[in-house]
């Protein structure tokens, strides 16, 4: 039915539509002319995570304020934001970032300052400054979730013994087959060192020495020919489901959604997980400053932050949020055991050191490219 309608539309309507659109675009560019519906653009990571944002925050926000939210997706990094700010052509209002990028961008003036004392307090009145977990807020951030990079496998690929430790990921003898990894040195180097016997608490100390870096790359060398590289967070669950790889590093929430919503036989190995957090920020110089601030305030309420945890297994970065997530909104699955912060998942875990990465990202990236190309 829908298809037929689309077919019947004569091409002339297309032309009219384009012209009208162009005229409207010109009008909105003029000062003093306001459009009926207000809107902002929020940029996040796509796939099932973006869907969680849509359900948990964007839709309720629109219902409450009448402000329309356009959702776009990207694969992280500061390049696009920097290009927009430097050319003065800002068309993203809110960006969802890894903490390392947020801190860097904040220092470079790419994001607007956010006063932590102006963010909504906890339901019991505790100030946001106290309510946030230690070190999880930046001078430019709002909202915030914990997420984790883990590795997962498809049970169909291993009928017999199943991998259970980070060492197993690097063990081609016991578990042969191709592995998926994100095409970036981040987390991969940490995984390599942990699998090589470095305790989580010493990983960044070791990485900080030239020998330690060599050691991490040597460990990656052992599986290099069996790695399939991914870039978008939505790829690993797909590659696992298609059995294109036997195991893959992934964001835990994506695997969770593949498990509960799509009933894929995927299993997460929490051993050696690299825990990280992110926040949203307002791009400097956005023309929709007022609305963006309103949105950031809304998304920083504990209830909003915890609501994400009802759609994907990411937990809020505030103390008062811990008790707020219960079951998955669509399937009723108990969320707690699937969260990266659940005690049984934290037995051997590493917290991502964004400060180390901000200092060493460029050099390590160069080294990583050299290594990839060899």
């Amino acid at each position: 039915m829908k298809k037929n309608q689309a077919k019947r539309r004569s091409p002339r309507y297309g032309v009219v539509g384009w012209t009208a659109g162009a005229v409207l675009a010109c009008l909105t560019g003029l000062p003093g002319v306001t459009m009926g519906a207000e809107s902002i653009t929020v940029v996040s990571w796509g796939g099932s995570y973006a869907r969680a944002w849509e359900k948990a925050i964007l839709e309720p926000f629109t219902a409450e304020t009448g402000v329309e939210v356009r959702l776009e997706s990207f694969n992280g990094g500061l390049a696009q934001v920097r290009a927009q700010v430097e050319t003065g052509n800002v068309h993203w209002d809110i960006v969802d970032l890894e903490f390392a990028d947020l801190a860097r961008g904040c220092d470079e003036g790419l994001f607007e300052f956010v006063d932590i004392d102006q963010l909504p307090p906890a339901p019991d009145g505790t100030l946001a400054r106290v309510d946030y977990f230690d070190g999880t807020y930046s001078d430019c951030g709002g909202g915030g979730i914990f997420y984790s990079t883990i590795y997962a496998y498809n049970t169909k690929s291993f009928p017999g013994e199943k991998p259970s430790t980070i060492e197993d990921y690097f063990d081609l003898g016991k578990f042969p087959g191709r592995r998926g990894m994100r095409r970036t040195p981040g987390v991969n180097l940490e995984f390599a060192l942990m699998a090589d016997g470095v305790p989580p608490g010493e990983v960044y100390e070791v990485l900080d020495t030239p020998e330690g870096l060599d050691r991490a790359f040597r460990k990656l060398d052992t599986i290099k020919d069996h790695i399939v590289w991914w870039e978008a967070g939505a790829q690993p669950p797909q590659m696992l489901a298609d059995q294109e790889v036997v195991m893959s590093t992934a964001y835990n929430g994506r695997i969770f959604n593949a498990q509960v919503i799509e009933n894929q036989p995927l299993v997460i190995v929490w051993d050696g997980q690299v825990l990280d957090y992110g926040q949203i920020a307002i791009v400097t110089g956005t023309p929709n400053m007022e609305l963006s601030r309103e949105f950031l305030q809304y998304a920083s309420r504990v209830e909003s932050m915890a609501a994400i945890g009802r759609y994907i297994a990411y937990s809020p970065t505030r103390h008062s949020g811990v008790d707020l997530f219960t079951t998955h909104a669509e399937t009723g699955v108990e969320m707690r055991p699937h969260m990266p912060s659940a005690p049984e998942n934290l037995k051997r875990a590493l917290r991502n050191d964004w400060e180390w990465w901000s200092d060493n990202a460029e050099e390590v990236h160069e080294r990583f490219s050299a290594w990839l190309n060899r």
Partner: protein, 398 residues
């Protein structure tokens, strides 16, 4: 008379003016500004003018004066207030990893208090300020004109004493990549020549109707979007793709023995050869069309075998086309970017992909520009050598 001639000349020149302006604005100016970036980086110098002036008289060995500490501290403070410090720190960090956090940490500590001894306060914030190497790095980052990007682009670096040294093998990226690019370009040129020469011959020596049809078959893909052709190759060559399926279906390959033909160097070679083939065939065809078939017949009537006739009569006459086609294909493939990016995977990337990475991801435009200059110089060198060997004058493109 002379005057009217000059008037005509001016009018003629005026007609080319729009083109000249267009090329200047859209080509020479951006190109020039990009090339300048490769050796001109004034950002740090502009951000820390007073400190750098003080460091000019410094001997580079002992710890600098208290005044230098104070000046730097104050400059950090005012930059942080303008939210410019992060960008400056990132630039300095490129010379010396770790400087970024050193600078930002120090600026955070110095934000409010007015210390009695700036030296002590800064060393307390980060020990690095007590080391002469940190200050040398700062001084080097403050150079307005620098060859650093070129050093990086050639896998070189400066050691602590300022001597130029080669990077350790695990850090060498660009020279191996440049070498790979040259080898691949040469291989593609040779493959194109081997595949294209007979095709061009066929087109040039068929009946007009058939020749037109064949020409259309060459031109059709030539007119098709580059992206469409590249992605079609992915469809054809991938693991579960048409070619592999076919080979499995007729039993040449087992289902677990599928050949990896894309996302590696093979993919880059196949796709680029197909895309660049018309650039070889068309100049060849243009030249072959003018070679009279009677020459070959004359040769054989004089007793030459086909081989002799071809090598001594036909081939020499087509050389201008061979030269033109080869040069076109070679130069185009040296700078090719989108096809290797899509089908090259890990091992099929070329130097231009690295330039794109520094343009779009790392945002190290200075390094991207230096790599671009080196690529340009390489092409220029080849052009020069080629000119000496073959002679650009004698080349024919159509």
């Amino acid at each position: 008379m002379a005057q009217s001639l000059r008037g005509a000349r001016i009018r003629a020149a005026a007609l080319t003016l729009p083109l000249v302006i267009f090329i200047t604005v859209t080509f020479f100016v951006p190109l020039g500004s990009m090339l300048t970036r490769s050796f001109h980086s004034p950002q740090v110098a502009d951000a820390l003018p007073r400190t750098l002036a003080l460091l000019e008289d410094w001997d580079g060995q002992s710890g600098p004066q208290e005044e230098t500490f104070r000046t730097l501290g104050e400059e950090f403070r005012s930059l942080a207030k303008q939210r410019k410090l992060g960008g400056v720190a990132t630039r300095i960090n490129r010379l010396e990893s770790g400087m970024r956090s050193t600078i930002l940490k120090t600026a955070r500590k110095l934000r409010r208090d007015q210390p009695e001894s700036w030296r002590e306060a800064m060393v307390a914030a980060d020990e690095a300020w007590g080391e002469a190497g940190t200050w040398r790095a700062l001084r080097r980052a403050g150079e307005r004109f620098t060859l650093q990007h070129y050093l990086n682009a050639l896998d070189l670096d400066r050691d602590d004493a300022g001597r130029i040294v080669t990077q350790p093998p695990e850090r060498r990226i660009y020279l191996p990549l440049l070498w790979r690019t040259l080898v691949v370009s040469l291989a593609i040129t040779v493959i194109c020549l081997v595949l294209g020469y007979p095709v061009a011959y066929l087109i040039a020596n068929s009946s007009p109707a058939r020749s037109n049809l064949l020409l259309l078959l060459v031109l059709l893909p030539f007119w098709t979007s580059l992206l469409v052709r590249t992605t079609s190759w992915i469809v054809l060559l991938q693991n579960q793709g048409v070619v592999n399926d076919l080979l499995v279906a007729i039993g040449i390959l087992g289902d677990d023995g599928r050949i990896a033909m894309v996302y590696n160097m093979t993919g880059t070679l196949i796709a680029m050869t197909q895309i660049l083939l018309p650039f070889m065939i068309l100049p060849l065809f243009a030249v072959m069309r003018t070679v009279s078939p009677q020459h070959l017949r004359a040769a054989s009537s004089l007793g030459a075998t086909f081989r002799q006739g071809f090598l001594r009569v036909y081939w020499p006459q087509t050389l201008p086309g061979v030269a033109a086609g080869s040069l076109l294909v070679f130069i185009l493939s040296i700078g090719y970017y989108i096809t290797p990016a899509l089908v090259g995977g890990r091992t099929g990337q070329l130097i231009s992909n690295m330039i794109a990475y520094h343009m779009q991801q790392s945002l190290n435009w200075g390094l991207a520009a230096a790599l671009g200059v080196i690529l340009l110089a390489t092409v220029g060198l080849f052009y020069f050598v080629y000119d000496r060997l073959v002679g650009i004058e004698g080349m024919r493109f159509s």
